[in-house]
Symmetry: C2
């Protein structure tokens, strides 16, 4: 479903070149749940951004459903992304001018579902994430963990084919964190492909494959191994 071939990503700035990803080769089958781990700064978010078509590799090819993404014009890439992929960003990326409810509703507006269906779906995720009591608040009026839970709710609401989650439990206590993991697990049981960056060995083990990054390279890929 997803194939990366010889992917490299170089950031250039201030005369300093950073090789964030080096010669990445990766295959993802539909329905997989993959954890991506590695030290701070080793390239995890960069990899997720490339997988999510939010950024382009410096070299190498990206195939999604056998279609070579790197060759498509921007507008077509955006379409493929909108139809297939949902994100949980490391810094949440909530829109400050929209309420919690409006933030969650936004990706649903792009889908062909009735307003009634949309309302049902939003109510469902608000309750799953225990933030129904914050529905009309603005992001700046929420605690850090509540903001994270809104970001998760927004990604879950569209029941996407692929979820890319960048540290979805970093600011959550164990009970809320486990709740997020259970929701991701149950989505995966019903077919959603999930790639999740995490620093928690415990949460990483919800996946069926763990990929370890170090200094921009994949150093190990283990099926359900403890690394």
């Amino acid at each position: 479903m997803i194939r990366l071939e010889n992917i490299n990503k170089i950031y250039g700035s201030n005369d300093v070149e950073t090789c964030a990803l080096k010669n990445i080769n990766l295959n993802v089958d539909p329905g997989e749940f993959i954890s991506i781990m590695g030290p701070s700064g080793c390239g995890k978010s960069t990899l997720l951004n490339l997988l999510g078509m939010l950024d382009n590799p410096t070299s190498g090819d990206y195939f999604f459903d056998k279609q070579c993404i790197s060759q498509l014009p921007e507008r077509k890439i955006a379409n493929v992304r909108k139809k297939n992929i949902s994100f949980i960003f490391q810094n949440y990326n909530l829109i400050d001018e929209l309420s919690v409810l409006e933030n969650i509703e936004l990706p649903l507006l792009y889908q062909k579902i009735s307003p009634r269906q949309r309302k049902i779906r939003i109510t469902e995720v608000l309750e799953q994430m225990n933030i129904a009591h914050r529905a009309n608040h603005m992001p700046q009026q929420l605690s850090g963990g509540q903001q994270q839970r809104v970001a998760v709710a927004r990604a879950l609401s569209t029941k996407p084919r692929v979820i890319l989650a960048d540290e979805p439990t970093g600011n959550l206590d164990s009970k809320n964190g486990d709740n997020v993991m259970e929701l991701l697990k149950s989505l995966n049981d019903r077919g959603t492909t999930i790639l999740m960056v995490t620093h928690s060995q415990y949460h990483a083990e919800y996946a069926n494959r763990i990929i370890n990054l170090f200094d921009g390279k994949i150093i190990t890929q283990d099926a359900n191994a403890i690394v």
Copy 2:
């Protein structure tokens, strides 16, 4: 050194009143290292903001060095805060228009130390936090964990009397996270008072006292107890 008496904090917005803190009583002696734990949304950041004089309680009194802060004019409160307290914010609060080095240097500019001394101090914390190679980058060019480490470096640089740390390791892998805890521990050994919010039981135990918050109230306070 720090005393909170019957502190309450109510946020009012959109016809919804949130009692974020209820009847908080707390004593902090110089040189203590206190961990504050509790579920998402229970009032930890609110408590830290009040302790850091970044916000005012709805009712109750705050004594710092036996001086009643609640009675002082804003300008005097700001002076007490600047002289005594450093912050590690849950969302880092780095200034996007300043480089890493300039962000760390900022609180040092308010101190009466020579430019040479400032340079020595900045170099020291950049190396302690393993981000010297990012000194001239802008915050948006850093990974999530690197941003967090800049926020920590900025707080450590002034060698303050009090450090208020809101989840200082939330986005860090275990090696970087333990490094931050070791640095906090060694500052505490040399007299810095530390209050730290954390979701990690493991990091919480670096402290000599653990305070548990729930729904805006302090429910237990244990000296080095596993709760």
